[in-house]
């Protein structure tokens, strides 16, 4: 096969997958409300996707905030405006870093877990068994996991922002000696609701995308060991690319 034909195939394959994912969203949304009527199932999935990702999200948030403060301080002090460190860090975190980094972590931590779990349920006939027992696996398995992921993502993002800001304060104020009062008052003065909602909208969109891809890949995984492995890889790759791509689109829309 020559290179042109091969890239053609990749393109077609990618488009087909994208279409399949998009089509999967409709029945999934259709089952989202019935799933919310089963809070026990959804809460369990919020725990699985959200609470279990807490440590990694908090740790990453702390270090991202600390790095942001180091770099920001170095940059700002060249212009003699170190006091602006608080607002720089807060805006960077709220609007950009928290939703994007949290989503990437979520895809790697929770997305892969979702895909391999559902894929293995498929491979071991558990989904078929549910269908035979007249229980719709889309409603019992897929929808609660999707809804759980969509709810967990903004919560994780908010926690990331909070810890990140604390990390920035830790480095900026305690280490670099920026005035504490100036740090917080600048932060308070610059950040407006629009900034917060930009981050929240992003995180909700990323939550939908990541959960949708993870559930779709697991649900349609080839029922073999290799198939589940491939599906898990696809979840990470597709989620990561789409997160960064959509981040650009959303940022452009919000500015």
């Amino acid at each position: 096969m020559n290179n042109a034909a091969r890239s053609d195939n990749y393109l077609l394959d990618g488009l087909r997958r994208l279409g399949s994912v998009a089509l999967f969203l409709l029945p999934l949304l259709g089952q989202a409300l019935p799933a919310l009527a089963r809070p026990d199932l959804v809460v369990k999935q919020i725990y699985n996707a959200g609470a279990r990702s807490l440590i990694i999200v908090m740790l990453s948030g702390l270090f991202v905030g600390m790095v942001l403060a180091l770099q920001g301080y170095d940059l700002l002090q060249r212009f003699g405006s170190e006091e602006a460190l608080g607002s720089a860090a807060a805006l960077g975190l709220l609007r950009e870093l928290a939703p994007v980094v949290t989503a990437l972590l979520f895809a790697g931590r929770a997305g892969t877990a979702l895909t391999s779990e559902i894929g293995l349920m498929r491979a071991t006939d558990q989904l078929t068994a549910m269908e035979i027992m007249a229980v719709d696996p889309l409603r019992y398995v897929a929808a609660p996991r999707f809804v759980g992921g969509v709810i967990a993502m903004p919560l994780l993002t908010a926690i990331f922002s909070l810890i990140g800001l604390y990390g920035a304060q830790l480095i900026g104020v305690q280490l670099m000696g920026v005035d504490k009062g100036a740090f917080w008052s600048q932060t308070q003065g610059t950040v407006v609701l629009h900034d917060v909602s930009e981050g929240m909208v992003k995180s909700i969109v990323f939550g939908v995308v990541c959960s949708l891809i993870a559930v779709h890949e697991g649900y349609h995984a080839e029922p073999t060991a290799e198939g589940v492995g491939l599906a898990t890889t696809r979840t990470v790759v597709a989620s990561s690319v789409l997160i960064l791509l959509l981040d650009y689109v959303l940022t452009a829309a919000f500015l």
Binding site: L120, T124, Q126, T128, A129, I132, M133, V135
Partner: protein
């Protein structure tokens, strides 16, 4: 009824009736479409031509809701058991009840324990599926399949890989389910000897159609060479044992690269 997968005909002109309240055995070589037949009955697959009628309803014409209502009257025992791995034995058996009824928890508990007792696993209620042996898993799956008292119970290869004791227990259970509860049973298997001890009727599927029908005794004494080959387990005979392949000598003598 006709059905083909990827152009390969699995069933060509199959016509089969399962009488109510009896044990019907469906025998045939591996890959002969026995499991496919069960999928057609439960409406996971639909016939290309012809129809599959369950309780007088054509499965292919049912909408989703009607199909799910139909499935509630059916039970299927998977070869692998297909237990839900994230819950224990008790919750597995309770699963269909919780999903389909509003039974209070105390009553549910009694119901589930009764069914577990029937398969001899009341003491294993707290175990997780991963802690069960294959035979135990299948018995739990059986308890789950009967918990809502289905009218028809289908067994997909229930005897595979069981030790003699588990085998005897499963055989007795199938018989009991039928005689005590009047459940119509369809047992799909290639274990001729085991089936002969419990089946009222049996069908032998060969090449997508019924090669023989009757009581197991009638099948055993059949004069058809194909039926005889299957009943006695001979590799040589009218039933092809080898998967279709190019000529043996030609393939071995050909140059390595294809």
């Amino acid at each position: 009824m006709h059905y083909a997968i990827g152009g390969r005909a699995i069933f060509a002109g199959l016509d089969l009736t399962v009488p109510r309240g009896r044990i019907t055995a469906i025998m045939g070589p591996s890959g002969g479409g026995k499991t496919t037949l069960l999928k057609l009955i439960t409406g996971q697959l639909f016939a290309d031509r012809g129809s599959v009628r369950v309780f007088g309803q054509d499965v292919a014409t049912l909408d989703r809701r009607a199909l799910y209502a139909l499935r509630q009257r059916l039970g299927l025992l998977f070869q692998s058991g297909a237990l839900l791995t994230d819950m224990d034995v008790f919750d597995n058996v309770a699963f269909p009840v919780r999903e389909h009824t509003d039974l209070p928890e105390t009553l549910l508990r009694k119901l589930v324990l009764t069914k577990l007792q029937a398969v001899g696993l009341r003491g294993a209620a707290h175990l997780l599926p991963a802690e069960l042996s294959g035979g135990m898993g299948r018995r739990v799956a059986l308890a789950r399949a009967i918990v809502l008292d289905p009218e028809v119970l289908m067994y997909d290869e229930p005897f595979v890989g069981l030790d003699p004791i588990s085998l005897g227990v499963i055989l007795r259970l199938i018989k009991q389910m039928n005689s005590a509860l009047g459940i119509t049973s369809i047992v799909v298997s290639h274990d001729v000897r085991e089936l002969a001890t419990i089946a009222d009727e049996s069908y032998l599927l060969l090449g997508g159609r019924i090669a023989a029908a009757g009581t197991p005794e009638q099948l055993r004494t059949s004069s058809s060479p194909a039926v005889q080959q299957f009943m006695t387990g001979n590799a040589e005979g009218p039933v092809a044992f080898n998967y279709p392949a190019p000529d043996y000598a030609t393939q071995l003598l050909a140059d390595g690269d294809e």
